[in-house]
């Protein structure tokens, strides 16, 4: 996908580094990748803890009809991503059964949203003929065409999402683990669950503009799932998540730069290898590994 003319991997790593940052588009790809990895990791950690991966996956897919619809209407795809992802998050929150905070109960409502969103995507694509090239970018991302302006938007939205997450971090952890007791302690369980879905929608909308609607889910689910296998300490677990997200993103970008294959494949494969490795480690040392 990349294979920039003249980019050759050598065993002189310093030279490779120089090549890697030779072009502004690569610098911006690293900037965007870094922001995306941190935000997706932190939000994804709660998503995995709350067993809301299905909601996250659906929100990721919803970005596709959102962007396709926006392009059909002739407005920026950014509006489509944010509008549809946040709208779908609110819809999922509204469809969720009133009683019980059991996350299993919300799955049918989410499935309904996902099926409808995909149908809309097909409609928008067929309405806008000649759009077919764009689908590729919507699904698989456009890491290499990131502008300075986009990096700035990423930074602002990402910073806002992380700030909001930090502000509600503790009560959110409480309701995720123990909603009944949290409610008795005066925590606004339902409000927090709506807020979290909106944050998830915002994050997905922002991340998928860079990564595409398919890769965003990999960054949301794989690093936290790996970290939660490795440790049961919440703080350490979030930190490991962010580190894994950064490593696989940077590594994926670097490897893709020197090969003709897509970035998304490498990022996902490295994350997958990390998860399998962590699972093997746990299985092998179940007795030894402490919490």
């Amino acid at each position: 996908m990349l294979a920039v003319a003249g980019a050759h991997f050598t065993w002189n790593l310093a030279d490779d580094f120089r090549q890697l940052f030779e072009f502004p588009f690569m610098v911006n790809a690293f900037r965007a990748g870094t922001i995306v990895a941190v935000v997706a990791g932190a939000i994804g950690w709660f998503m995995v803890l709350r067993r809301q991966a299905f909601a996250g996956h659906t929100l990721a897919l919803v970005g596709f009809p959102g962007a396709a619809g926006a392009i059909w209407l002739g407005v920026s795809a950014t509006w489509g991503f944010f509008g549809f992802c946040v709208g779908a998050a609110l819809l999922i929150a509204w469809l969720r059964p009133e009683r019980g905070e059991g996350y299993s109960e919300e799955s049918s409502g989410i499935g309904v949203v996902q099926a409808f969103a995909l149908a809309c995507g097909f409609l928008f694509v067929s309405l806008y003929r000649g759009f077919l090239n764009g689908i590729n970018a919507l699904l698989f991302g456009s890491f290499l065409g990131v502008t300075n302006g986009q990096v700035l938007v990423l930074l602002i939205v990402g910073g806002a999402a992380l700030t909001a997450l930090a502000a509600v971090g503790r009560p959110l952890l409480f309701t995720s683990i123990d909603p009944d007791v949290a409610a008795a302690r005066g925590v606004r369980v339902r409000a927090l669950s709506v807020l979290f879905l909106v944050l998830l929608g915002l994050t997905v909308a922002e991340v998928s503009q860079i990564t595409g609607t398919l890769l965003v889910f990999a960054l949301l689910v794989m690093p936290p799932a790996t970290a939660q296998l490795l440790t049961a300490r919440p703080g350490v677990s979030v930190a490991i998540t962010v580190v894994i997200g950064l490593l696989v993103t940077w590594l994926g970008l670097a490897v893709a730069y020197f090969t003709p294959y897509p970035i998304g494949f490498f990022v996902t494969s490295f994350a997958f290898a990390g998860y399998v490795g962590a699972a093997a480690l746990r299985r092998g040392g179940r007795r030894r590994v402490i919490a």
Partner: protein
């Protein structure tokens, strides 16, 4: 922070609750003195868990009055430790027992834990203290989903205790435990009640494991509730009057009580859907 020992921790007058068009209970009069260990008994669907939620202010009364620790229900929840019915953590939940206890201490506060070293050390000391109190030190650092049901129950009791509450509400904490664990947890709860002067309201399906420790029982039935000492309440005469149907209380030779004829199937572990 403790209420005076003579005051009632819970005082209900002619209270009633309707949920979804159905009267859960009505004409409920209840007075639970502070510092006592009280069991809430009754058949399936009698509204035992609903009573607990009413005390917490999570379910509103439709009639009558209720005062909890001398205030409106819900107003003094920070002085109440609550252990909901039948929670077991997902086996895949990768959070330690100490974290669950710690959330009981400050999990409702906004933001991330403040890094101040003294504050953190203080919090950790309190968490260690309650974990010691319930003898959970051996497994509190393991992921809570991986420890046994009895061990989880102790972690949750520690969580309920960590803020030094004036009252504990325990909703069927013995359920789903094996008999030795039932006896051990019952003894533990009673020890805490006496040592800390705490009011304890425990919903129970089977009174026998806690019978030796109880000060009072409140028996919920179709016509309201009867309160009093176990000897007064759990008798053929009282219960027959409460349910308006002949009920027999048998005394086994080992001191256990068997209630025969109350309107429910005689199994122990069936009221999973009571809310």
């Amino acid at each position: 922070m403790r209420t005076a020992l003579h005051a009632d921790a819970i005082d209900a007058r002619d209270a009633a609750v309707r949920l979804g068009g159905r009267t859960v209970w009505e004409h409920l009069d209840l007075s639970i003195p502070a510092g006592e260990f009280v069991a809430v008994l009754g058949p399936n669907g009698a509204g035992k868990s609903t009573l607990v939620k009413t005390v917490l202010g999570l379910v509103p009364l439709t009639h009558g009055t209720l005062s909890v620790l001398g205030a409106e229900p819900g107003a003094r929840n920070h002085d109440i430790g609550y252990l909901p019915q039948r929670r077991s953590f997902d086996a895949g939940l990768r959070v330690r027992g100490v974290d669950v206890v710690r959330l009981g201490l400050d999990g409702d506060k906004w933001g991330l834990p403040r890094p101040g070293r003294r504050r953190q050390a203080e919090a950790r000391r309190r968490v260690d203290q309650v974990i010691g109190l319930v003898d959970a030190g051996a497994y509190a650092d393991r992921p809570v989903g991986e420890v046994s049901g009895g061990e989880q129950q102790r972690i949750l009791i520690a969580q309920a205790l960590v803020r030094r509450p004036a009252m504990l509400l325990l909703d069927e904490p013995l359920d789903s435990l094996d008999l030795p664990n039932q006896a051990a947890v019952a003894a533990l709860v009673s020890r805490i009640c006496r040592a800390e002067g705490m009011t304890i309201l425990m919903v129970a399906h089977d009174v026998n494991p806690i019978l030796p420790y109880l000060d009072h029982v409140a028996y919920l039935g179709s016509g309201g509730a009867v309160c009093g000492s176990p000897e007064q309440v759990i008798t053929s005469e009282t219960l027959s009057r409460l349910f308006d149907t002949p009920i027999e209380v048998l005394h086994a030779s080992d001191g256990r009580l068997v209630v025969v004829g109350q309107p429910e199937p005689p199994a122990y572990h069936v009221d999973r859907h009571e809310h």
